[in-house]
Symmetry: none
Subunit: 603 residues, 2 copies
Amino acid sequence: MSPPKPTNVMAIDPHGLFDSRPNFSHVASSAAGSRVVMTAGQVGADDKGVAPRDTVEQIQLAFYNLRRCLESFGASVTDIVKLVFYIVDYDHTRRQHTTPLQSFLQGHRPATTLVPVPKLAKPEFKFEVEAYVSLPQQPLQEVDVVVVGAGLSGLKAAYDIQQSGHTCAVVEARDRVGGKTWSSDRTDAGKFVDLGAAWINDTNQSEIFRLVQTLGLETVEQNTTGSVIQEDTDGTISQFQYGGLPQRLVEANGVANVTMLRDRAEEVCQTLDIRSPAQAGSHLDNLTFEDWVRSVTGSSESAMASARIWTRVMLGLEPHEMSALFFLNYCKSGGGLIQTRSDQKEGGQYLRLVKGTQSISIGLASLLQPGTITLNSPVRSIEQTQSAVHVTSTRRQYICKRVVVSVPTPLYKEITFTPQLPADKVELSQRNKLGYNNKVIVRYSSPWWRNYGLSGMLQSFAGPVCVTRDTSIERLGQFSLSCFCVGDWGRQLSKLSQEKRFETVITHIEKTLGSVSAGKVPLPVGIEEHEWQLDQWAQGCPCPASSPGATVRLERALRSTHGKVHFVGTETAYEWKGYMDGAVRSGARGADEVVTALNAAKL
Amino acid sequence: MSPPKPTNVMAIDPHGLFDSRPNFSHVASSAAGSRVVMTAGQVGADDKGVAPRDTVEQIQLAFYNLRRCLESFGASVTDIVKLVFYIVDYDHTRRQHTTPLQSFLQGHRPATTLVPVPKLAKPEFKFEVEAYVSLPQQPLQEVDVVVVGAGLSGLKAAYDIQQSGHTCAVVEARDRVGGKTWSSDRTDAGKFVDLGAAWINDTNQSEIFRLVQTLGLETVEQNTTGSVIQEDTDGTISQFQYGGLPQRLVEANGVANVTMLRDRAEEVCQTLDIRSPAQAGSHLDNLTFEDWVRSVTGSSESAMASARIWTRVMLGLEPHEMSALFFLNYCKSGGGLIQTRSDQKEGGQYLRLVKGTQSISIGLASLLQPGTITLNSPVRSIEQTQSAVHVTSTRRQYICKRVVVSVPTPLYKEITFTPQLPADKVELSQRNKLGYNNKVIVRYSSPWWRNYGLSGMLQSFAGPVCVTRDTSIERLGQFSLSCFCVGDWGRQLSKLSQEKRFETVITHIEKTLGSVSAGKVPLPVGIEEHEWQLDQWAQGCPCPASSPGATVRLERALRSTHGKVHFVGTETAYEWKGYMDGAVRSGARGADEVVTALNAAKL
């Protein structure tokens, strides 16, 4: 966890009152003129309202829920002025809430009240906590354009707009720029790992690569030397050379079915026009990708297992959760199934950034005029009037001429649009589905798998990890395996505690990649993850998929403007949807639209 | 108690709701743009966390604690928007909290909620109250200098700075000017008594006396006509003429020992250089004043009793609580032990102000430009940046070039300095100790003691009152004895309820001064006090003392600047430390520093 930020809350221990350290202050205040945020009482219940039986688990979950409330306003624990606890069966000799509380507060000491109560709203609830939070307000800004979101697409749009001579502000919900480019360096030794987007290509991802070159960022090739470990549906382990296919599968004709599926998918991909996918592919939008796979390979479990790996790793979803047209067009946007999935020369996973992909976002942000970006300030309303557009974020208001919204379509619901979004955009936003994507990144002191001739890639038909990749940066001594916990298997893992989930992943590595080393898998030196679906500013990763019917009817709504509001984001790109290249291209497209409109208005 | 101030809280009784008078309003709001202050739930526990057994006492104590929380932000009860009560064993037929509540609120009616609870954080707690408070914000001020504290030193600094042509604002935590000059007139008949500083001298306290003359304030001589009552260690009462020494003491050689101690202390005082006390006196900083007294008078109890009277009355502390060098230099700053302690022509207690010493502060404040002073606004942070100094008080922010801090060194902890104070100043602030000093002032309809040839002075070796003085203003018909409840005896009295403490003091007067009147001591017509140590903006009175070692190492840190922040206050004076004259001198010194720096910056 990062150290607490300097607080805007004034917390005081008045002379002559008893010592309230370390749990609270006797009195605290919001900053002058701040927005005061108040939460409902947060209980220890999950997203279905179900509470764990264990009281301490409930308390931890209540604080977790409270943190989400804070995040929804771009607030952090140091912004808390006051907490009130309601505790059932309170026992002053066994204050179960203090340890989770201290871990939550990280040294911050708001005013608090503890209220023992006979019961709470439901009999199973044992603990409830509510917060009063101070959110200081920054001065109103008047600019030509406000960009909502400081991910790659938003930053690119802002850069191009500023280059065109117009004023532009960027407002971001998170405490950092980069969106789904997020590079973690827990070691503080510069050994970044990418919790989100990780790969680029230098030949066919021209936009992102140009940016990387402009910023002078160092890249390394993805390691594909050595064997891939194949785990079959029954758990059988085999090996094949990277770039090939499994030699043998437990299913009779399994290899042939897998090959047929791949080739057929590639062939259909190539018939599609990314600028008008429904033209050649409208029939593919009547069925799910799962249906389509069955239509090609019948009941082949191996083929379906392959298809699952594709949709899971690429979108965090199952084949039945998207239309066939959506998936095949998604692949086509990266040049086709094979190119998109490849880790080699022309492939989508060819190069990585030595300092992580967030360094691209940080670099791009540094090219903006100073003071352009406001962090920790989720946009909650966009109101268009005759004369202007009013953008309200939790820490700042804006008056502008145009807005560029760069958030994923399913997150449009987080913003109140006035006038409302048109029906097709609302439907798009409701029907587009974000997947479960979590790379559990296991750090080692050395790339031990290479000693056994392995590339570090696992492809599993048995789970729970779907795919692993070697994501080391040799020059920096950063050695890691990124373990894709995705789709249904990822969702199952997500139900475990983090400790259990990490254990499960490591056990799976030992069972598969470790099978070649006679039980000599070294202990990890670090392990981290980010469950993008739980992240309220992503709600999934890398981008949403469309269910049957939506691509034909709604594909054009992806990029349509709403009055003076424009929409970008990697899912709106024609090329390399879901990739950083697509994000940058979409940002450029949005900036083009805005600058054209602003220049036209001047005439 | 003073009448409630006009409220900034908007409290409403909506039409059609039941009558909520006199206890609460159905709805209330903070002022627009105000700082919202929230307290922790306040229980009826003392500064050690101990709660009285009696529930009503607990309730009263909880409201007392709540008041301290309000005061720590410069807020008052009329600023309360909302109160929540949590009550154990709540009985609606016997609402024990309403009387203390009404006495606390003084007619103000915030919104309230009453929550009966099965228990509170500790089993002994029966009542808890939390408040939500609105603190209106005044506009940011940009001035050359901000002075923190409107006591005499701060007011003098501000006056000199404004006279030099620079702009200067004063920001004060209390609801009044004057700091430890505080003159009470409960009768509203102009019969002021001084709860704090009371005496000046017209010959050697040139700075304060010049100010008194400038302001045209009337003075009276301290009455020293008549006998002093001496109460010996065993309670024996005797008399001696004012200016002399006890004729006989129960200890063999007691009088000789007392005389020797006085003469030796005076002699050593005179060897010290107030501008560099460590030069001649560094060896005196290795021991406490108690140790030094023993080194002079061995085991003489009378001598030690004398020494105790000195340190208690002069600093509210015991002889073992300060270094010998500190005490002797403190005396030297007033010209020596004898002069400092004298109530006659050249002495420290020669003259009083007819309208009380606060009239000096009020007069000085009236010479400042209108709007200079912001009251009820404790400064909580002073941040120095490259370009400016930012001062944050609870009701106003300032941007300035220089700051003058006039609070006592132990109160530096109440302000967050950025950058932090240097180590020597922090140590000074932590090691300097404020004493317990409470003058219980007993008003009579006539100066009855004079009828018996008494001066009104008591000097007690037995306690609990240490010294009394006649503090009457004859012309106004104000007749009073100021009874010094100081040092350890004062701390003991402080543990009693105010009622018991007053009873104890009156009993002691009857036993000592009253011993001459054959039981005919009249009933007081009034009695009041101020426990300066409990006052969060004083934390003791008149000024802090240093423990051994601190004077040699840290004396210079008293007056050192911290970047653009300057420090004044009576304890930083060379002459008349702890006296009003010292305060004024230190203010002039601080103003000099600031004006010199500002003028240099202009060149």
